[in-house]
Symmetry: C2
Subunit: 452 residues, 2 copies
Amino acid sequence: MEKIYKEIDRNSERYMQELFTLLRQPSISSQGIGLSECATLLAGMMEDVGIRTEILPMGGANNPPLVYGEITSTGAEKTLLIYGHYDVQPPEPLEAWDSPPFEPTIRDGRIFCRGSADNKGQLFAHVKAVEAILKTEGALPMNIKFLFDPEEEMGSPSLDAFIMANADRFAADFAYNADGAMDSSGRPILSFGNRGSCYVEINYREANRDLHSGQFGGPVPNPNWRVIDFLGTLRDDKGRVAIEGFYDGIVPPTPAEKAAIENIPFDEKATLKYLGLKSFDLPEGMSFWEKIMFQPTFNICGFSSGYGGEGTKTVLPCKTRVKIDMRLVKNQDPADIYDKFKRHMEKHGYDDLELKTTTAYRPAKTPIDHPMSVAVVKAVRASFQDEPIIYPVTGGSNPSSIICDFLKIPIVKVPYGSHDECNHAPNENMVIDLFYKGIKCSATVFYELAGI
Amino acid sequence: MEKIYKEIDRNSERYMQELFTLLRQPSISSQGIGLSECATLLAGMMEDVGIRTEILPMGGANNPPLVYGEITSTGAEKTLLIYGHYDVQPPEPLEAWDSPPFEPTIRDGRIFCRGSADNKGQLFAHVKAVEAILKTEGALPMNIKFLFDPEEEMGSPSLDAFIMANADRFAADFAYNADGAMDSSGRPILSFGNRGSCYVEINYREANRDLHSGQFGGPVPNPNWRVIDFLGTLRDDKGRVAIEGFYDGIVPPTPAEKAAIENIPFDEKATLKYLGLKSFDLPEGMSFWEKIMFQPTFNICGFSSGYGGEGTKTVLPCKTRVKIDMRLVKNQDPADIYDKFKRHMEKHGYDDLELKTTTAYRPAKTPIDHPMSVAVVKAVRASFQDEPIIYPVTGGSNPSSIICDFLKIPIVKVPYGSHDECNHAPNENMVIDLFYKGIKCSATVFYELAGI
């Protein structure tokens, strides 16, 4: 690998300049800005390296352009599928950025730009790894397919159907993804799964407009009470979700997963202080990480009605909106959970409340004792020069399930972003050194997985 | 009265121009804008008419200037105290106004301007009534004192203490107030009281910042659940307030009040349609007006936490804010209700929630069979040329209690604003014809009350 690492070091400045070109092109899926321009730009950069690319419109209302790439190696037996996404979060609030969100700017050894870490800087590392190997060795150790998602920041609404209809195209032996952030200790991570998510929104309305609370308060009902009464039915005395069948099929961590959890560095006192909390909400005997990885949540993301500013406003609000996201663990399915939620509403007589679901992700998990684990640990150790931490699951959600459960391809994620990458936030940034280490990591991963 | 009415008609155009001068001077108490300038202007206009005025700083942090006026009549036995307020609501949102908020503009027979109806156009009617009487008759039929509040739109936070410390100055036989809106039928109103108000705000926080719901959801508690659990303790199965002693001392309407309520025109079907409701929330046998006038409310004015916009945001909010206003009826006291609320919190183990109160008004009621009633009905009938409706109480709140309960002066309110005056809202307006009728009404009221 030494020759390849030297090639990467020699060309690092140019790689960064090319990344800047990619970063300057906005690609905000939720606002419909710049996706096709970015797809064309990215596909061109992949072609320049020698990857055969296709831009695949995924259909549906948005018809977003998936960037697909393929590069084969004569005699190679194994195929790797790389997942990444080239869309970015909206840059708002603009005034909170210290430099323009779509003009890559270097400060303190970091590239500040929307998409620098999430995910352009990480997906581009794979592309540059391919280039470095080809330049040095003339051929890749395995076949590689690229699936660059145009809508990850929106919950990848078109991806499942498109992959199901084109399963053969994406067939592979392993799948790999670089996204998200390393451990706050600075150590790299291998993540073997993620929680799913069922996001629902409840809307309830009484009058047709907000009213003066003195003039109408009393005879005109307040929508909040009915919503609060409903929310009261959703949890039992112990704070557990009271929806019938909500916990069905949930399994505790395996002994191997339990051992991995125990190896995750965790300073409870420091974390509590960092978050400003007195204690965590943990059942007797359950650790922080076990709850994050193996327990579902029932989280109110938003409750909004009437006046929320300073001081007094005597309003009788006409409507209430509540947003709930349920993070789901292995064997929970978002569609099934949504049905159960709806049935609970009906059973308790609250079907006059409007219920809708906005995003859904299935949980996903690749066994941590899969042979990929040893291979990728070796690659990460060599490239980052640090001992990686094994996360059986991460708490967030992503579209991995379609890869590991439908395509049946084991998938592992190695984040190249620093723990303070500020993804989804102003001043998103990619540590330059981690971008270069990421390129080395991808290259090493290709060799290690080829050797399994 | 005919001579006086003719004098008013002859000078109406000039009265309106003088009102315009008063309206052009912003006086936004909650933003600390223009109060002393407006006090000086108003006091000068009163002096011009022959009213001896004083500007009385009320003390406290804001030290707001109360405009006091007095005019005596040789041989007059009775004294009237007129209450009004010269401060106005903030004009925001500015873009919703069809003409500049502080430039009086005539359209469709109305003066559009912030303060035109609430309350400068109504309080100025009293001043011009004094002028018309003095010009015509040379003397008033009774002594009159003027109390023009600089902070009504903020809940008159300084008024009670100031009046208590200066009770002699405000001593009178009757009190009169022109504020608010006439009945939606277009008929004038006599209102003999108002509900009080105890406004509380609950704040509760868990972590020190909003967090990613995937990354931290589970071990980190969500503040909404604790607040929802608490709110659940506040009402019983029938939706009645479960705070101990909340309803103590509440009395049903007297037979006279009941008869007055039955005489209020009310089209239930039309009102439901206007509000977009299927039904009102009324106990068996209780009318809309009885609930408005004789029942307290427990209204959530605002519930805010996390994300309330469109679509998905996977946030674990760190804090929750709930605003509740309780409209109170005769024999309920806001300070006592606040104490009971606080005790309820402690009793149920929720004293970790932060509780504060922002505004408090005591309920107020003058008996509708007080001799003032017949006198003011006569005056209103003569000036507005329509039969007034008797409201024993109105649903909103105002500082009348300090006048009728502490100073022991019976008070009646006659609104000169139209039902669509848009007070507190953009395009606030005063119907020009009602401004002139208001001047006549004030003048007639002085004679009728002098005759009791």
